[in-house]
């Protein structure tokens, strides 16, 4: 089994860890009834009734799946 020969320096450990960055997802902004929501594009959305209970999933005005 291959084994590291030298202890990894604190500097190189930190340089490796510094390269792990988060990327912002591309979101779509929709304003509905004065409420602004951000959502992923091309993905079905959950339709809720007035009390916030999820009913079904909708895409382009069509019911596609149950929650």
């Amino acid at each position: 089994m291959a084994v590291p020969k030298r202890k990894m320096s604190r500097a190189s450990t930190r340089m490796r860890r510094a390269q792990w960055k988060a990327t912002a997802p591309t979101l779509v902004k929709t304003v509905e009834n004065g409420k602004t929501t951000y959502s992923l594009p091309h993905r079905a959305k959950v339709v809720e009734d007035s009390t916030g209970t999820p009913l079904y999933m909708e895409y382009k005005g069509r019911k596609v799946a149950d929650v």
Binding site: V31, V64, A65
Partner: protein, 175 residues
């Protein structure tokens, strides 16, 4: 013609993938709509559509070729007698994949895959194609008048259609 798939087989090996796709296709024809992962759905689409093409052909040879993939005779019977007539006029594109979200546990992208069984609603031909068709038809009968009338109709129709969505779009934004 299905393009060769890139990357490793689904499941563990070629046999596992064949079985998985056959079972998914059978489930799709039984339930008309299934929830699965995006990767599986994308692999399933050419398999399922090919089986539907066989079903549209409808003869015994086609039935036996489908039975080679899906072993269940009741599913194949349903495919040939119920699904095939509904997609008779549709020229390919028998399935629809809608992305739903990500599965809890492994964060796999889930989709709803369904058969497109609605009656075909053909798109109006684009102005250029319609004009070309009119030009080819016209010389046989009355060359001058036919083309003029046809072009007017074809030019007018798409403009109205393009205006209508444009009007709708700002209205939705304004809400």
């Amino acid at each position: 013609m299905a393009a060769p798939t890139k990357g490793p087989r689904l499941g563990g090996g070629p046999a596992h993938e064949r079985l998985m796709l056959a079972n998914l296709a059978a489930a799709l024809f039984t339930h008309k709509s299934i929830k699965t992962t995006e990767t599986r759905a994308k692999r399933l689409r050419p398999v399922a559509e090919r089986l539907i093409t066989f079903a549209k052909r409808g003869d015994l040879h086609a039935r036996r070729r489908v039975l080679a993939t899906i072993g269940d005779k009741t599913v194949v019977h349903e495919l040939f007698t119920e699904i095939a007539p509904l997609v008779e006029l549709r020229e390919g594109g028998y399935t629809r994949i809608t992305k739903l979200g990500f599965r809890k546990g492994d964060n796999a992208s889930m989709v709803q895959m369904e058969l497109v069984l609605e009656p075909v609603n053909p798109k109006p031909k684009s102005a250029k194609k319609a004009a070309a068709a009119a030009a080819t038809d016209a010389p046989e009968e009355t060359p001058v008048e036919e083309t003029v009338v046809a072009e007017d109709e074809t030019v007018d129709a798409p403009v109205e259609e393009t205006e209508a969505p444009a009007e709708d779009a700002p209205a939705e934004d304004a809400k």
